[in-house]
């Protein structure tokens, strides 16, 4: 007997994941280069490369690249990657496309904490980031506890999460009414999700967190593959279900939390990325990295479109992703019960 059909099929699926990932990576690089080059002051690609390599460049180029555009583009990539990974982890773990951190209140919790930090307490941006992360962790613990009934069912988690998210949104609004007008306006832009004015101050804590969280997420990919089969099958295969699920949830919440801390709750990036990745890959394999790359593409593209392509006033990235994501959310909500896939 020959194993060739199995070998061929596994090879096909692996190749598919690789090809899609490479194409997405190329897209990320292209959009990254575009956002460094395009703007009121155009910089040619060779000049960008020279500037990045520390070679001599025309005047102003170094300043524009290193101080204005590079941190913004790096934050866009990392935030997109984080949201995409976080969404994929949640959705594939709970087996419900609605169970994404931006739908079930996790980013809303991070936002409330961040607004409290920025607009009321006026703390440093590093402290604000830490508070946003804490807000995300606290909120998810709350959602988890409220929806726990001998295990967490998909739909209960989503409903409780949407409720908690709504409650937190009103907490955020209340905090804004207490804030001084100018900081309140800053907070409002931040609440939409914006990359405007990102500096190395945001890049540093974000990249440190991502250096830990991305490898952790990729190591846990195997656990996602087991947990996708349901608790009993996964346990039967020798997995420690509770420990792996907790690890995945913590990593997912931290990803969503640090991303929100850096750029605000950029609407629906976490929610959209994984379904797009699943479509592109077209098999049931866990799609963490492709979802992360799609997140990066979406945030880079949304920031670019918002900044340069829609009329005179620049729009924050979150407005663009919101316009795309909201109809998709409504469509999912409208069809979830009919297809019976809600869980």
């Amino acid at each position: 007997m020959t194993a060739s059909p199995v070998v061929a099929e596994r090879r096909r699926e692996t190749r598919r994941v690789r090809v899609v990932s490479l194409i997405l990576l190329a897209l990320v690089v292209a959009l990254f280069a575009l956002s460094l080059s395009y703007g009121s002051f155009q910089i040619s690609l060779p000049d960008i490369v020279r500037s990045l390599l520390g070679q001599p460049t025309p005047p102003q180029v170094d300043y524009i690249v290193h101080t204005l555009r590079l941190p913004r583009a790096v934050v866009a990539v990392l935030v997109g990657l984080a949201f995409g990974l976080a969404g994929a982890i949640f959705q594939q773990l709970v087996r419900n496309p609605l169970a994404s951190p931006d739908v079930i209140g996790v980013t809303a919790g991070a936002s409330s904490a961040a607004v409290l930090a920025i607009a009321i307490l006026s703390v440093s941006s590093l402290t604000a980031s830490a508070m946003a992360l804490g807000g995300a962790l606290l909120t998810s613990a709350l959602v988890y506890v409220l929806s726990w009934r001998q295990g967490v069912g998909g739909y209960r988690l989503v409903l409780v999460g949407i409720g908690v998210g709504a409650a937190l949104a009103s907490v955020t609004s209340f905090l804004l009414t207490r804030a001084d007008v100018r900081t309140a306006q800053d907070s409002l832009i931040w609440l939409v999700g914006s990359l405007n004015g990102r500096t190395w101050d945001q890049v540093k804590p974000l990249s440190v967190a991502m250096l830990i969280l991305v490898p952790a997420a990729l190591i846990l990919r195997r656990a996602v593959a087991g947990l996708q089969l349901g608790d009993d099958v996964a346990k039967g295969l020798g997995m420690n279900v509770e420990r792996n699920r907790l690890a995945l949830l913590v990593v997912g919440v931290c990803l969503a939390g640090v991303a929100t801390a850096a750029a605000g709750p950029v609407a629906f990036v976490a929610f959209m990325s994984s379904p797009i990745a699943v479509r592109l890959i077209g098999t049931g394999r866990p799609t963490l990295l492709p979802a992360g790359l799609i997140g990066a593409v979406v945030v880079l593209a949304a920031d670019f479109i918002g900044a340069h392509l829609v009329g005179g006033t620049p729009y924050p990235a979150g407005v663009i992703t919101g316009v795309v994501g909201a109809p998709y959310l409504l469509w999912l909500l409208a069809t979830a019960n009919r297809t019976g896939r809600g869980g």
Binding site: A8, R95, D232
Partner: protein, 269 residues
């Protein structure tokens, strides 16, 4: 495949929260034999099987695998000796047959042990044993109920354990596919000497395919042993609250239950 381990329950009690479902159960699963568990709905068959497979921690007593508590052993080591196919598993959206069956190799891989030719061979052997090799590239969503059930069994086979537990592997299948699946499990038992334990709904097929029959009612074992010794008219009446005749199965000579209802049951009424 390793020689099958021994599997015993000792004073085993299982439940959910405060609710006891299985109480103080002591028995030994015959090694290298086909054991079938029968009993009325909700009597605790699935709960018992899940307990045997360490999916549910005991509220009292223990399950012993090779003489040692199965809950104390590292879960991955247990997964190399004992496989379980729970009742009504749900496949992830869009997963292919090859991918699903490949996941049965999980306990054979570690953090650092990558996929090897052995794994390919085990998956191919499982597909071929279940007659699903030609479905290798298909999506599980697109399969018929019978094909899907065989693919799940292939996933459990790919785990290559000496003991295989299956919860209602024939439910929702038409009778042709039921017989096919049961024959397949007996093949496995005869070819590899595997211990097979399964819950079955259909009494006559249970009597035909079991070397050892366990009859449960309300979380306790009423009787256990060879089907011809165990399945008497009085046992069926007591356990299933149904009058019946037991006659020899004209094909297999095992006991065959012929139910007696209020209508159309001739003089037996």
């Amino acid at each position: 495949m390793p020689a099958p381990s021994t599997l015993q329950a000792e004073g085993l009690s299982l439940g959910y929260g405060d609710r006891r479902v299985v109480t103080d159960l002591t028995l030994e699963i015959p090694r290298g034999k086909v054991t079938v568990i029968v009993g009325p709905n909700a009597c605790g068959k699935s709960t018992f099987l899940r307990g045997l497979a360490r999916l549910l921690p005991p509220s009292a007593g223990a399950v012993l695998l090779d003489g040692k508590s199965i809950h104390a052993a590292p879960s991955r080591e247990v997964a190399l000796k004992l496989g379980i196919l729970p009742q009504g598993p749900i496949a992830p959206d869009g997963i292919t047959v090859t991918d699903l069956v490949s996941r049965g190799r999980h306990p054979h891989q570690g953090m650092f042990r990558r996929w090897t030719a052995d794994d390919d061979n085990a998956v191919a052997a499982a597909l071929s044993a279940t007659g699903t090799l030609e479905l290798a590239a298909r999506g599980v969503d697109e399969l018929s109920g019978g094909q899907r059930q065989r693919v799940w069994i292939a996933m459990a086979l790919a785990q290559r354990t000496g003991i295989l537990l299956l919860d209602e592997p024939t439910t929702y299948l038409d009778v042709t596919h039921q017989v096919e699946v049961l024959d397949l499990l007996v093949d496995l038992n005869e070819a590899e000497g595997a211990t097979v334990v399964m819950v079955l709904h259909e009494l006559n097929l249970a009597a035909r395919y079991a070397d050892h029959l366990i009859v449960m009612k309300s979380g306790a074992v009423v009787t256990a042993g060879e089907p011809s010794a165990v399945l008497t008219e009085s046992v069926v009446e007591e356990v299933f609250s149904m009058r019946c005749r037991v006659v020899p199965d004209p094909v297999s000579r095992t006991p065959m239950i012929v139910p007696i209802g209020r209508h159309r049951s001739g003089d037996a009424r």
